[in-house]
């Protein structure tokens, strides 16, 4: 960083990294926000669903012949990876909801939280048992050359990052269409607004909650594959911290708010990338935490959260 151009490039590169990371965080945050909006519970197992999604993507890739000897074209392989992973994680989400959360609909608030910790332990250690503790690599560079991508001055946006960004945007757009445009989405918003009234309007709450978990978990699965493609490493403990970051993003943006989750995710990604580039890589989580506290002190409902008016 001795001259101006280089430092501008460096900044730009960090910005690209941050936005990519932010896209992933935003997808995880959306799952949290959807579930929280409908059920008002913290789904701590969400991060582990993301981990399982990353593993599903990895094994689909291996099943299709591995990164270097794929039996289908690369684009098709990546598509199948995303599709299978999203479907698998979505189904996993439905199963989790059915067994760990549905029996606790009317319990004290702490019950689903503890149950979620249990699910998280089960998924983490189940993955540890099945896939062993070793770190696996997607080894993306063997099928997509690292030099491919857009070059803007000194800033390189490689192929995978473009793919991830575009895909994240498509998924978010699709989600907002789903929430605003379909009947299930409308029912979901109704339940989030007032569950009892929604029940009286004849909305099948169980079915809508199932859909919510499916969609939220599928997004987490997609995020898992994205992280695998860009950052390569997949291991059984990757879910916890990512889940925590995703949740932070949701809280910063205003939990329950869908645009808030997207904004929060991107902000968090950029903040993390910048702090580890300019301040201290070791303390980037601590700084993220301070950021969270600052946002919560100034705007307790998050950046885009509605002010909660509780009627008694």
């Amino acid at each position: 960083m001795d001259n101006g151009v280089q430092s501008v490039d460096y900044f730009g590169q960090q910005m690209v990294n941050g936005i990519t990371l932010g896209g992933v965080y935003a997808l995880i945050a959306l799952g949290y926000t959807l579930v929280y909006g409908v059920l008002q519970i913290l789904n701590f197992a969400h991060g582990d669903v993301y981990m399982i999604g990353a593993f599903i993507g990895f094994f689909v890739m291996v099943g299709l012949g591995g990164p270097s000897h794929a039996v289908v074209p690369v684009a098709v392989m990546i598509f199948i990876m995303f599709a299978v992973s999203m479907l698998g994680s979505g189904l996993l989400g439905i199963v989790i909801e059915k067994f760990a959360y549905r029996p606790l609909r009317n319990s004290p608030r702490i019950a689903p939280l503890i149950s979620a910790l249990g699910v998280s332990l089960l998924l983490q250690n189940g993955a540890l048992l099945l896939f062993s503790g070793s770190i696996r690599s997607y080894d993306t560079s063997s099928f997509v050359p690292i030099t491919a991508g857009i070059h803007l001055g000194g800033v390189t946006i490689d192929g995978m990052r473009i793919l991830v960004l575009v895909l994240a945007l498509i998924l978010m757009f699709g989600l907002s269409r789903w929430v605003n445009g379909t009947q299930v989405g409308r029912a979901m918003r109704a339940i989030a607004f007032d569950r009892d009234a929604a029940i009286m309007m004849g909305i099948n709450v169980d079915r809508v909650i199932m859909w919510t978990f499916f969609v939220g978990s599928a997004l987490a699965g997609a995020a898992g594959v994205m992280v695998g493609l860009v950052f390569l490493r997949v291991y059984s403990y990757m879910g916890f911290l990512a889940g925590l970051k995703g949740f932070t993003a949701a809280v910063v943006g205003g939990i329950g708010s869908i645009p808030g989750a997207m904004l929060g995710g991107v902000l968090l990604g950029i903040a993390e990338s910048m702090t580890s580039a300019y301040l201290s890589p070791n303390f980037s989580d601590a700084i993220t935490f301070l950021l969270l506290i600052a946002v919560m002190l100034i705007k307790p409902r998050g950046l885009l959260g509605r002010r909660a008016i509780v009627k008694v």
Binding site: I114, S115, L122, Q124, L244, V251, T288, M296
Partner: protein, 494 residues
Amino acid sequence: MDTPQTSAEDSAGRAEVVLGIGTDEWVARHNERLIVDSGPLARLKDTASKIPNLVRWLLVLLIAVAVPLGTSNPYIMRVGVNLGLFILLSYGLNIVVGYAGLLDLGYAAFYGFGAYAYALVSSDQLGHHWKTYISVPIIVVATALLGFLVSLPSRRLMGDYLAIVTLFFGQVFVQVVLSSDSITFPWATDSIDITGGSNGIPALDPFVLFGHKFLNAKDYYWLLLAIIVILTLTITRINRTRIGRAWRTIREDSLAAQAMGISINRLKFMAFIVGAALAGLAGTILSAVQGAVFVNGFDLPLLTLVYAAIILGGSGSLPGAVMGAIVMSLLPEFLRVPSYSEILFFVVLILVIGAMRRSIKSFAITLLGIFVTGIIVRGIFLSLSVKSLPRDEWATGVIGRFLSHWLFVPNNRLLWGNASFVLLIALIAYLTQASPTIKRILLPVAAFLGIFLWEVRLIQQPSTTRQLIIGTMLIVLMVTKPQGFLGKARVEVL
């Protein structure tokens, strides 16, 4: 959990009913109406429930005193110290979660803070060797202060936000400790090693109290016992004061509490701080008894265990906290030894089958079904000419050796074990939805898969198995008994 409110006498002359907050007599008698069990087991349960609490406490105390007098086995004393620390942690968390209803997910960090603070002032790491009666009170106060700081941003926030702030705090604590082994301050040239990073801090001074140097685990055990007795008395007293009642009122309905003129923020702070201080105290004892401190003991697994302990016993109940702590600190110890955990597994399996198949006849049929399934699976493996694993390589426990005549363990145990794991989970998920007939048919298959998975795979990986068991336990407990074993189910009248 008794309250000093007036009790209502029933005309039929039944036992007095102590009314809790927000309950009337109908609600208080709800549980009595639910009792429909009869038979010897129910009578035993009934008799056991009539033993006064004081007698139970004295009984536990008697055992706690008798054990160190009877044995000097260092392992047993160490387990006893761990149990004592666990009870201390459960007491603290019980105040935060059980009384005040605050979700503190960074609780393990306060424990770690106490431990590291003691390590820093009692070792050569920074060259300080403070006296115990100075360092411990200062650390306890400092931890309380830290608790105050952490709870500050949450004062206006709802329970979930507090949960996330504290969870993050716990994570940051681990991160900061891990990376504080080479901190460069702007004004200094050399980096300073504060926490020793992942190596921890070794060679800590033991406690020296009243001129007595604590040499082994037994000394700490007595200290912990004394602390716990004092705390039990204190907390029971506090529970009956204005503060105790106010805490429970906040937990039940903070809006109503506020309307009654209770200053909820102040009381929440108080609970949080008391909880943090107790964790800090436990931390100092931990690092003194270990003689070293490492960061990996203060992470989420510990937090989950402590939460499991207070939830298991019923949050808000002091005897429940003790009971939960006993189970959750002895269970992992027990599961560490493969031959013990094997026995435990089979006992639990038999109990579960017994609970699902009440009559002796259907129970025997199920056992026979398991046996037949094993024979069939053996036949399938043999006809597929799968190589078997020699008995000496897998049958470690007594039961395993006994079963080795019947159970077929394939050579590629990793693959088959994983397959049985996935299949078992799918089968259990299916069984919970299936009709009774299908259940009857598939229960032996599921039980066989469980045995197979246990002998082939789980027995080899005690730590993963332990976590799996704890995870399953949490979910099952929450789904079946969300109020814990000694907690009372809340009956709400709308």
